[in-house]
Symmetry: C2
């Protein structure tokens, strides 16, 4: 089980000399063993191991054009939506012995461009998650390298979409059932596909119930944004808020608590992505998240492309549903101070 005696990296020539064969033979011993004498292969492999020889990824890549690397670019690693996705993508890539570069655009399209430029010559494929780039730029980059998208809908580029439409619709139905007549959507980044999709789903569902809808837009989706936007929320006459994501929702909850407003008695809150589990108090009603599946599927799509299984115009949609917990209740009636004990998780 010894991995070799450590120290300096050996080259193929070293192995060849030690084994008394040519470089080509060593090369083949690793890449196409079947075309070599069985014992030759054994001998070479053994010697290589003793020397601690590891094939040079870079040289191989330069020679073949296949790097065995792919780039995963996300908008914010620290946003809890991404880690499970990253992990799943990683695992999937690993099964095919791919290495993954991680890029963090920090919600900035220019940074994203820059990252891609830096990655493009050393990866076989790009996987952009929640890209903030314009469709044009995406198409441009897609011409340079195989590319797949997650939560971004650009025709002609294989993509997997977590469709929160279904979940958001359920959320609105739920709020309507509870008697809410006026809600507010706390928006995410305007360049976010998920945001547009959620806003639209919310508006059309609300229309069916004759609900009034306000919209308020913080700059970035975060705890702090949610907290900061509470005054604006209170300025409207809404009795419930649907937030772009759980982080924002959590911030709203804190902001409400700071003003002595009790949730869900005096105000209802719904999140999106279900990244917090039941950890908040009250536990957050939210739309389910399938980011790990998305990550896995995204990598699979990309690798399929690389294997020539041209995915064509694949558009994989993962739907979602509402997870009802304890931040939603009937709106407070004037003069009637309702109160609800924490009900168990649905």
């Amino acid at each position: 089980m010894q991995h070799g005696a450590g120290g300096k990296t050996h080259t193929m020539a070293d192995v060849a000399k030690a084994a008394g064969v040519s470089k080509s033979t060593v090369s083949r011993a690793f890449t196409q063993p079947e075309r070599l004498g069985a014992e030759t292969v054994d001998r070479i492999v053994k010697i290589a191991q003793q020397l601690g020889y590891v094939p040079n990824h870079t040289a191989r890549a330069l020679s073949t054009g296949r790097h065995g690397n792919l780039a995963l670019i996300v908008s914010d690693v620290a946003n809890p939506f991404f880690p499970p996705l990253i992990r799943a993508a990683q695992l999937q890539a690993d099964r095919s012995d791919f290495c993954v570069f991680l890029g963090n655009s920090d919600e900035d399209p220019r940074q994203e461009d820059k990252l891609i430029d830096r990655f493009v010559t050393q990866v076989e494929g790009l996987l952009l998650v929640a890209s903030r780039l314009s469709a044009e730029r995406i198409v441009f980059h897609a011409k340079r390298r195989p590319m797949a998208l997650i939560n971004r809908d650009v025709a002609g580029i294989p993509r997997v979409l977590i469709d929160s439409t279904t979940g958001v619709r359920q959320a609105i139905d739920h709020l309507a059932d509870l008697g809410h007549k006026h809600i507010i959507y706390v928006s995410g980044p305007s360049s976010s596909w998920a945001n547009r999709q959620r806003r639209n789903a919310l508006k059309s569902a609300a229309r069916l119930h004759d609900m009034a809808v306000d919209v308020v837009s913080p700059h970035v989706p975060s705890y702090d944004s949610g907290r900061a936007v509470v005054p604006e929320i209170l300025a409207s006459k809404a009795t419930a808020a649907v937030a772009f994501d759980d982080l924002t929702a959590q911030g709203i909850m804190t902001g409400m608590a700071e003003r002595g407003i009790s949730i869900p008695d005096q105000f209802s809150v719904v999140g999106c992505d279900d990244v917090l589990g039941a950890a908040t108090y009250p536990s957050l009603t939210t739309v389910s998240n399938r980011s790990d599946e998305a990550g896995r599927a995204g990598v699979r799509l990309l690798l399929d492309m690389l294997n020539g299984h041209m995915a064509g115009d694949t558009r994989l949609v993962l739907d979602t549903h509402l997870v009802i917990r304890n931040t939603t209740a009937s709106p407070a009636r004037p003069g009637f101070h309702s109160r609800q004990a924490g009900t168990a998780i649905g």
Copy 2:
């Protein structure tokens, strides 16, 4: 601002031909512009841009041995301890135009070995976070490539350590002040440096207060582990638990709640890492986390090594402190059944 007209990747020779110069000149225009005629550089750069030429990272790496890549290997991307660290490391690497490979060992040393093997030929340096490898393997790999460590203390290898000793000691003092006489440590992975450190700090601090200490060891640090270990905790006579990390602590809280045990009235819980903020209910008393600083410092250390500023036996220690929130209180007295109504979010 146009980034070139898209499509196929051009080579340096293309640019050279288009500009009517030699390849070397083009090369120099990018790497040492000062040694060239100012206008020559301008012309070349402009033509390159028009063509959409991007220098080939791989070829450059093969030629120079400098890849401009580094590998960041963590034990679990999805553990909330890591994302901020990853983000900070990324940012720091970005300032020096480095690309970062992300590896996920999933707490498995063999996987870690495998990842390193895959990375080692295409990175300039390795940054291992909370490595689960034996000291011998770490030293072995460190001979192959410049390496820095985070939360792993191996002599001779530059490392940054988040020292929870101070924070844990404060936690024990705090529990002693509250009157606890018997506590239990819910352990993390045995191969974790942080775990050993926390356990030791806890034991020695407890000794000073004449406290009894039990230890229980789940396999991996996670919400589920914490939840599952509750029966064992209750089997002991401890009145307070200190958990290896916040996730485990959160699991314990859930497990306790499921058994109708109220925290902190009937049992106190302390976490480590402060990754949950005040999001739990009751909000968790925990030891502060400085993972982002650690990530930043780790990358800085590594890059310093690469620049020849031999860091020698650098050992950077970041200390921590206790963050007191609402999961700790005096132990319940026999015969006195305390009860606490849900207080608002801290």
